[in-house]
Symmetry: C2
Subunit: 182 residues, 2 copies
DNA sequence: ACCTGAACACCGTTCAAGT
DNA sequence: ACCTGAACACCGTTCAAGT
Protein backbone atom coordinates (compact mmCIF):
# COMPACT_ATOMS: atom_id res chain seq x y z
CA UNK A 1 0.00 0.00 0.00
CA UNK A 2 1.54 3.28 1.11
CA UNK A 3 4.92 1.70 1.79
CA UNK A 4 4.96 0.08 -1.62
CA UNK A 5 4.15 3.42 -3.25
CA UNK A 6 6.97 5.16 -1.41
CA UNK A 7 9.34 2.40 -2.45
CA UNK A 8 8.37 2.73 -6.11
CA UNK A 9 8.77 6.49 -6.09
CA UNK A 10 12.15 6.25 -4.47
CA UNK A 11 13.33 3.62 -6.93
CA UNK A 12 11.84 4.86 -10.18
CA UNK A 13 10.49 8.37 -9.64
CA UNK A 14 7.00 9.71 -9.20
CA UNK A 15 6.20 9.52 -12.90
CA UNK A 16 6.60 5.75 -12.72
CA UNK A 17 4.02 5.38 -9.99
CA UNK A 18 1.04 3.66 -11.52
CA UNK A 19 -1.87 2.06 -9.70
CA UNK A 20 -1.49 -0.99 -11.91
CA UNK A 21 2.14 -1.34 -10.93
CA UNK A 22 1.42 -0.96 -7.22
CA UNK A 23 -1.39 -3.48 -7.52
CA UNK A 24 0.82 -5.97 -9.33
CA UNK A 25 3.61 -5.72 -6.78
CA UNK A 26 1.04 -6.23 -4.04
CA UNK A 27 -0.37 -9.23 -5.88
CA UNK A 28 -3.75 -7.59 -6.14
CA UNK A 29 -5.81 -6.12 -8.94
CA UNK A 30 -5.51 -2.38 -9.54
CA UNK A 31 -9.12 -1.72 -8.78
CA UNK A 32 -8.69 -3.25 -5.35
CA UNK A 33 -6.59 -0.23 -4.41
CA UNK A 34 -9.70 1.91 -4.59
CA UNK A 35 -10.75 0.30 -1.33
CA UNK A 36 -7.81 2.00 0.36
CA UNK A 37 -7.59 5.29 -1.51
CA UNK A 38 -10.40 7.18 -3.13
CA UNK A 39 -8.04 8.38 -5.80
CA UNK A 40 -4.53 8.31 -7.17
CA UNK A 41 -4.19 11.85 -5.87
CA UNK A 42 -5.22 10.63 -2.42
CA UNK A 43 -2.40 8.10 -2.54
CA UNK A 44 0.04 10.84 -3.52
CA UNK A 45 -1.26 13.00 -0.69
CA UNK A 46 -0.44 10.23 1.77
CA UNK A 47 2.99 9.78 0.24
CA UNK A 48 3.54 13.52 0.70
CA UNK A 49 2.37 13.38 4.31
CA UNK A 50 4.77 10.53 5.02
CA UNK A 51 7.54 12.65 3.50
CA UNK A 52 6.73 15.57 5.78
CA UNK A 53 6.91 13.26 8.78
CA UNK A 54 10.35 12.05 7.68
CA UNK A 55 11.48 15.62 7.09
CA UNK A 56 10.22 16.68 10.50
CA UNK A 57 12.22 13.94 12.19
CA UNK A 58 15.35 14.96 10.27
CA UNK A 59 14.92 18.59 11.34
CA UNK A 60 14.35 17.74 14.99
CA UNK A 61 17.45 15.58 15.00
CA UNK A 62 19.55 18.27 13.33
CA UNK A 63 18.38 20.91 15.78
CA UNK A 64 19.61 18.75 18.64
CA UNK A 65 20.56 20.92 21.60
CA UNK A 66 19.84 24.05 19.63
CA UNK A 67 21.93 27.16 19.40
CA UNK A 68 23.38 28.60 16.26
CA UNK A 69 25.06 25.26 15.46
CA UNK A 70 21.73 23.45 15.67
CA UNK A 71 20.03 26.16 13.70
CA UNK A 72 22.49 25.97 10.85
CA UNK A 73 22.42 22.19 10.95
CA UNK A 74 18.69 22.31 10.33
CA UNK A 75 19.27 24.20 7.10
CA UNK A 76 21.79 21.66 5.94
CA UNK A 77 19.54 18.79 6.98
CA UNK A 78 16.65 20.25 5.03
CA UNK A 79 18.59 20.48 1.80
CA UNK A 80 20.16 17.10 2.48
CA UNK A 81 16.73 15.52 2.81
CA UNK A 82 15.63 16.96 -0.52
CA UNK A 83 18.78 15.85 -2.30
CA UNK A 84 18.64 12.31 -0.93
CA UNK A 85 14.90 11.89 -1.54
CA UNK A 86 14.41 13.89 -4.73
CA UNK A 87 11.31 12.15 -6.05
CA UNK A 88 9.66 12.03 -2.67
CA UNK A 89 10.44 15.70 -2.16
CA UNK A 90 8.83 16.54 -5.50
CA UNK A 91 5.65 14.77 -4.51
CA UNK A 92 5.59 16.79 -1.27
CA UNK A 93 5.72 20.01 -3.25
CA UNK A 94 5.66 20.23 -7.03
CA UNK A 95 2.08 21.20 -7.49
CA UNK A 96 0.38 18.33 -5.76
CA UNK A 97 -1.16 21.13 -3.74
CA UNK A 98 -2.44 22.64 -6.96
CA UNK A 99 -5.27 20.17 -7.02
CA UNK A 100 -5.26 19.07 -3.43
CA UNK A 101 -8.40 19.79 -1.47
CA UNK A 102 -8.40 23.20 0.23
CA UNK A 103 -7.37 21.56 3.48
CA UNK A 104 -10.15 19.74 5.33
CA UNK A 105 -9.84 22.09 8.31
CA UNK A 106 -6.69 20.34 9.49
CA UNK A 107 -4.33 23.09 10.53
CA UNK A 108 -2.28 20.43 12.22
CA UNK A 109 -1.34 18.45 9.14
CA UNK A 110 2.12 16.97 8.72
CA UNK A 111 3.57 19.80 6.65
CA UNK A 112 2.52 22.29 9.32
CA UNK A 113 4.18 20.19 12.01
CA UNK A 114 7.47 20.13 10.10
CA UNK A 115 7.20 23.88 9.69
CA UNK A 116 6.54 24.26 13.38
CA UNK A 117 9.95 22.77 14.20
CA UNK A 118 11.52 25.72 12.44
CA UNK A 119 9.24 28.23 14.16
CA UNK A 120 10.15 26.78 17.55
CA UNK A 121 13.85 27.00 16.73
CA UNK A 122 13.48 30.64 15.80
CA UNK A 123 11.64 31.42 19.01
CA UNK A 124 14.44 29.75 20.95
CA UNK A 125 17.09 31.72 19.10
CA UNK A 126 15.21 34.93 19.69
CA UNK A 127 15.03 34.14 23.39
CA UNK A 128 18.80 33.63 23.35
CA UNK A 129 19.08 37.04 21.72
CA UNK A 130 20.72 35.71 18.58
CA UNK A 131 17.91 36.37 16.11
CA UNK A 132 16.04 39.61 15.54
CA UNK A 133 12.63 39.79 17.12
CA UNK A 134 10.48 39.81 14.01
CA UNK A 135 7.33 37.73 13.89
CA UNK A 136 8.69 34.17 14.18
CA UNK A 137 6.08 32.82 11.80
CA UNK A 138 7.07 35.30 9.09
CA UNK A 139 10.77 34.71 9.66
CA UNK A 140 10.25 30.97 9.46
CA UNK A 141 8.39 31.35 6.20
CA UNK A 142 11.29 33.35 4.82
CA UNK A 143 13.85 30.74 5.83
CA UNK A 144 11.67 27.93 4.56
CA UNK A 145 11.45 29.65 1.19
CA UNK A 146 15.22 30.02 1.19
CA UNK A 147 16.06 26.36 1.79
CA UNK A 148 13.19 25.26 -0.41
CA UNK A 149 14.60 27.37 -3.23
CA UNK A 150 18.05 25.90 -2.79
CA UNK A 151 16.56 22.41 -2.79
CA UNK A 152 14.47 22.98 -5.90
CA UNK A 153 17.24 24.58 -7.94
CA UNK A 154 19.42 21.64 -7.02
CA UNK A 155 16.85 19.02 -7.99
CA UNK A 156 16.20 20.83 -11.25
CA UNK A 157 19.88 20.62 -12.06
CA UNK A 158 20.25 24.37 -12.30
CA UNK A 159 23.40 24.69 -10.24
CA UNK A 160 26.28 25.59 -12.56
CA UNK A 161 28.65 22.60 -12.59
CA UNK A 162 31.27 23.51 -10.02
CA UNK A 163 28.59 24.37 -7.44
CA UNK A 164 27.33 21.65 -5.12
CA UNK A 165 24.12 21.67 -3.13
CA UNK A 166 26.16 21.62 0.07
CA UNK A 167 28.23 24.62 -1.00
CA UNK A 168 25.16 26.63 -1.92
CA UNK A 169 23.42 25.64 1.32
CA UNK A 170 26.47 26.76 3.27
CA UNK A 171 26.62 30.11 1.53
CA UNK A 172 22.88 30.56 1.88
CA UNK A 173 22.95 29.97 5.62
CA UNK A 174 25.84 32.36 6.10
CA UNK A 175 24.07 35.10 4.11
CA UNK A 176 20.86 34.32 5.89
CA UNK A 177 22.46 35.47 9.13
CA UNK A 178 24.11 38.72 8.13
CA UNK A 179 22.65 39.58 4.70
CA UNK A 180 24.22 40.54 1.43
CA UNK A 181 24.78 44.23 2.07
CA UNK A 182 28.23 45.62 2.51
CA UNK B 1 2.24 25.75 -32.52
CA UNK B 2 4.30 27.12 -29.64
CA UNK B 3 1.97 30.05 -29.15
CA UNK B 4 -1.03 27.77 -29.02
CA UNK B 5 0.67 25.59 -26.41
CA UNK B 6 1.48 28.61 -24.25
CA UNK B 7 -2.11 29.76 -24.55
CA UNK B 8 -3.45 26.38 -23.47
CA UNK B 9 -1.14 26.19 -20.48
CA UNK B 10 -2.07 29.67 -19.38
CA UNK B 11 -5.77 28.97 -19.71
CA UNK B 12 -6.03 25.43 -18.39
CA UNK B 13 -2.73 24.48 -16.76
CA UNK B 14 0.14 22.30 -17.89
CA UNK B 15 -1.66 19.08 -17.07
CA UNK B 16 -4.29 19.96 -19.68
CA UNK B 17 -1.73 20.31 -22.44
CA UNK B 18 -2.27 17.42 -24.83
CA UNK B 19 -0.89 17.02 -28.30
CA UNK B 20 -4.33 16.04 -29.51
CA UNK B 21 -5.80 19.22 -28.10
CA UNK B 22 -3.13 21.42 -29.63
CA UNK B 23 -3.58 19.67 -32.95
CA UNK B 24 -7.34 20.11 -32.83
CA UNK B 25 -7.12 23.79 -32.04
CA UNK B 26 -4.67 24.17 -34.89
CA UNK B 27 -7.00 22.26 -37.20
CA UNK B 28 -4.40 19.60 -37.81
CA UNK B 29 -3.95 15.99 -36.83
CA UNK B 30 -1.94 15.28 -33.71
CA UNK B 31 0.73 13.37 -35.53
CA UNK B 32 1.39 16.38 -37.71
CA UNK B 33 2.90 18.08 -34.65
CA UNK B 34 5.73 15.61 -34.76
CA UNK B 35 7.03 17.52 -37.78
CA UNK B 36 7.65 20.50 -35.52
CA UNK B 37 8.67 18.85 -32.26
CA UNK B 38 10.40 15.53 -31.84
CA UNK B 39 8.54 14.99 -28.62
CA UNK B 40 6.01 16.34 -26.17
CA UNK B 41 8.93 17.05 -23.87
CA UNK B 42 10.55 19.07 -26.66
CA UNK B 43 7.41 21.18 -26.90
CA UNK B 44 7.49 21.73 -23.14
CA UNK B 45 11.15 22.67 -23.38
CA UNK B 46 10.27 25.37 -25.90
CA UNK B 47 7.43 26.58 -23.72
CA UNK B 48 9.91 26.83 -20.84
CA UNK B 49 12.42 28.71 -22.99
CA UNK B 50 9.74 31.18 -23.99
CA UNK B 51 8.93 31.65 -20.30
CA UNK B 52 12.54 32.44 -19.48
CA UNK B 53 12.61 35.04 -22.22
CA UNK B 54 9.49 36.68 -20.77
CA UNK B 55 10.97 36.55 -17.29
CA UNK B 56 14.20 38.08 -18.50
CA UNK B 57 12.34 41.00 -20.03
CA UNK B 58 10.40 41.54 -16.80
CA UNK B 59 13.62 41.58 -14.78
CA UNK B 60 15.37 43.99 -17.12
CA UNK B 61 12.42 46.33 -16.97
CA UNK B 62 12.24 46.17 -13.18
CA UNK B 63 15.95 46.85 -12.82
CA UNK B 64 15.50 50.06 -14.84
CA UNK B 65 18.12 52.57 -13.82
CA UNK B 66 19.47 50.26 -11.17
CA UNK B 67 20.38 51.09 -7.62
CA UNK B 68 18.85 49.58 -4.55
CA UNK B 69 15.37 50.51 -5.78
CA UNK B 70 15.92 48.68 -9.04
CA UNK B 71 17.46 45.76 -7.24
CA UNK B 72 14.52 45.32 -4.91
CA UNK B 73 12.08 45.84 -7.78
CA UNK B 74 13.67 42.85 -9.55
CA UNK B 75 12.84 40.64 -6.60
CA UNK B 76 9.25 41.79 -6.60
CA UNK B 77 9.03 41.42 -10.38
CA UNK B 78 10.34 37.88 -10.18
CA UNK B 79 7.72 36.77 -7.70
CA UNK B 80 5.08 38.73 -9.56
CA UNK B 81 5.91 36.90 -12.78
CA UNK B 82 5.55 33.53 -11.07
CA UNK B 83 2.25 34.46 -9.44
CA UNK B 84 0.73 35.82 -12.65
CA UNK B 85 1.95 32.93 -14.83
CA UNK B 86 1.75 30.01 -12.41
CA UNK B 87 1.38 27.20 -14.93
CA UNK B 88 4.02 28.60 -17.23
CA UNK B 89 6.35 29.04 -14.28
CA UNK B 90 5.84 25.42 -13.29
CA UNK B 91 6.79 24.24 -16.75
CA UNK B 92 9.98 26.31 -16.53
CA UNK B 93 10.94 24.55 -13.33
CA UNK B 94 9.03 21.72 -11.77
CA UNK B 95 11.13 18.83 -12.89
CA UNK B 96 11.08 19.38 -16.61
CA UNK B 97 14.83 19.47 -16.16
CA UNK B 98 14.63 16.07 -14.53
CA UNK B 99 14.39 14.43 -17.91
CA UNK B 100 15.65 17.24 -20.11
CA UNK B 101 18.79 16.50 -22.04
CA UNK B 102 21.97 17.33 -20.10
CA UNK B 103 22.23 20.63 -21.96
CA UNK B 104 23.43 20.34 -25.55
CA UNK B 105 26.50 22.46 -24.81
CA UNK B 106 24.44 25.62 -24.80
CA UNK B 107 25.68 27.65 -21.87
CA UNK B 108 23.83 30.56 -23.37
CA UNK B 109 20.34 29.16 -23.17
CA UNK B 110 17.41 31.32 -22.15
CA UNK B 111 17.42 30.42 -18.47
CA UNK B 112 21.09 31.37 -18.26
CA UNK B 113 20.37 34.71 -19.88
CA UNK B 114 17.64 35.51 -17.36
CA UNK B 115 20.03 34.56 -14.60
CA UNK B 116 22.68 36.79 -16.09
CA UNK B 117 20.46 39.85 -15.59
CA UNK B 118 20.65 39.23 -11.86
CA UNK B 119 24.41 38.67 -11.94
CA UNK B 120 24.90 41.95 -13.79
CA UNK B 121 22.77 43.79 -11.26
CA UNK B 122 24.85 42.39 -8.41
CA UNK B 123 28.08 43.42 -10.10
CA UNK B 124 26.68 46.93 -10.51
CA UNK B 125 25.63 47.09 -6.87
CA UNK B 126 29.03 45.86 -5.77
CA UNK B 127 30.67 48.56 -7.87
CA UNK B 128 28.44 51.10 -6.12
CA UNK B 129 29.66 49.66 -2.83
CA UNK B 130 26.21 48.62 -1.69
CA UNK B 131 26.65 44.85 -1.84
CA UNK B 132 29.43 42.77 -0.28
CA UNK B 133 32.09 41.63 -2.68
CA UNK B 134 31.42 37.91 -2.68
CA UNK B 135 31.53 35.99 -5.92
CA UNK B 136 28.64 37.55 -7.89
CA UNK B 137 27.71 34.22 -9.45
CA UNK B 138 27.35 32.60 -6.04
CA UNK B 139 25.46 35.55 -4.61
CA UNK B 140 23.11 35.54 -7.59
CA UNK B 141 22.45 31.84 -7.11
CA UNK B 142 21.57 32.51 -3.47
CA UNK B 143 19.16 35.29 -4.35
CA UNK B 144 17.64 33.25 -7.16
CA UNK B 145 17.02 30.41 -4.73
CA UNK B 146 15.40 32.87 -2.35
CA UNK B 147 12.89 34.34 -4.79
CA UNK B 148 12.33 30.94 -6.38
CA UNK B 149 11.47 29.54 -2.97
CA UNK B 150 9.03 32.34 -2.28
CA UNK B 151 7.44 31.80 -5.69
CA UNK B 152 7.11 28.05 -5.25
CA UNK B 153 5.67 28.19 -1.75
CA UNK B 154 3.15 30.68 -3.03
CA UNK B 155 2.14 28.59 -6.02
CA UNK B 156 1.83 25.52 -3.83
CA UNK B 157 -0.57 27.42 -1.61
CA UNK B 158 1.61 27.00 1.44
CA UNK B 159 1.41 30.57 2.67
CA UNK B 160 -0.70 30.67 5.82
CA UNK B 161 -3.89 32.59 4.96
CA UNK B 162 -3.14 36.11 6.11
CA UNK B 163 0.20 36.13 4.28
CA UNK B 164 0.31 37.34 0.68
CA UNK B 165 3.03 36.67 -1.86
CA UNK B 166 3.78 40.39 -1.98
CA UNK B 167 4.16 40.60 1.80
CA UNK B 168 6.49 37.61 1.91
CA UNK B 169 8.50 38.95 -1.02
CA UNK B 170 8.84 42.28 0.78
CA UNK B 171 10.02 40.70 3.99
CA UNK B 172 12.36 38.40 2.08
CA UNK B 173 14.02 41.26 0.27
CA UNK B 174 14.46 43.26 3.47
CA UNK B 175 16.03 40.28 5.26
CA UNK B 176 18.10 39.54 2.19
CA UNK B 177 19.89 42.83 2.70
CA UNK B 178 20.69 42.76 6.39
CA UNK B 179 20.06 39.19 7.50
CA UNK B 180 18.09 37.71 10.33
CA UNK B 181 20.62 38.10 13.15
CA UNK B 182 20.06 40.51 15.94
C1' DA C 1 9.84 23.06 -40.13
C1' DC C 2 4.22 17.90 -44.71
C1' DC C 3 -0.03 15.63 -43.33
C1' DT C 4 -3.32 11.57 -42.48
C1' DG C 5 -5.63 7.38 -40.38
C1' DA C 6 -5.07 3.22 -38.11
C1' DA C 7 -2.87 0.89 -34.64
C1' DC C 8 -0.14 0.03 -30.30
C1' DA C 9 0.90 0.15 -25.62
C1' DC C 10 -0.12 2.44 -21.97
C1' DC C 11 -3.02 5.21 -18.36
C1' DG C 12 -6.98 6.21 -14.29
C1' DT C 13 -11.52 5.15 -13.27
C1' DT C 14 -16.19 2.97 -13.19
C1' DC C 15 -19.28 -0.74 -12.70
C1' DA C 16 -21.65 -5.06 -12.28
C1' DA C 17 -20.59 -9.12 -10.11
C1' DG C 18 -18.76 -12.30 -6.94
C1' DT C 19 -16.68 -13.72 -1.79
C1' DA D 1 -9.93 0.07 4.67
C1' DC D 2 -13.08 -6.63 0.02
C1' DC D 3 -11.66 -8.23 -4.55
C1' DT D 4 -12.25 -9.29 -9.70
C1' DG D 5 -12.69 -8.75 -14.90
C1' DA D 6 -14.46 -6.20 -18.51
C1' DA D 7 -15.12 -1.87 -20.31
C1' DC D 8 -14.59 3.25 -21.05
C1' DA D 9 -12.39 7.38 -22.16
C1' DC D 10 -8.34 9.07 -22.42
C1' DC D 11 -3.03 9.46 -23.37
C1' DG D 12 1.84 9.70 -26.40
C1' DT D 13 3.96 7.58 -30.11
C1' DT D 14 4.87 4.83 -34.38
C1' DC D 15 4.18 3.62 -39.03
C1' DA D 16 2.71 2.90 -43.71
C1' DA D 17 0.69 5.71 -46.95
C1' DG D 18 -0.58 9.68 -49.41
C1' DT D 19 0.33 15.02 -51.27
Amino acid sequence: MLLEAVRTIHAEGAAALTLRGVGDRLGVSRTALYRHFTDKQALLDEVAAEGFRMLRRALVEAWGDGGRAGFDAMGVAYVHFAVTHPSHYRVMFGGAAEKRQPRPESDDDDSTEAFQVLVDAIVAEQAANRVRRDDPQALALYIWAMVHGVAMLTLDGLLPPPTTAEALAGLAIARLHDGIDR
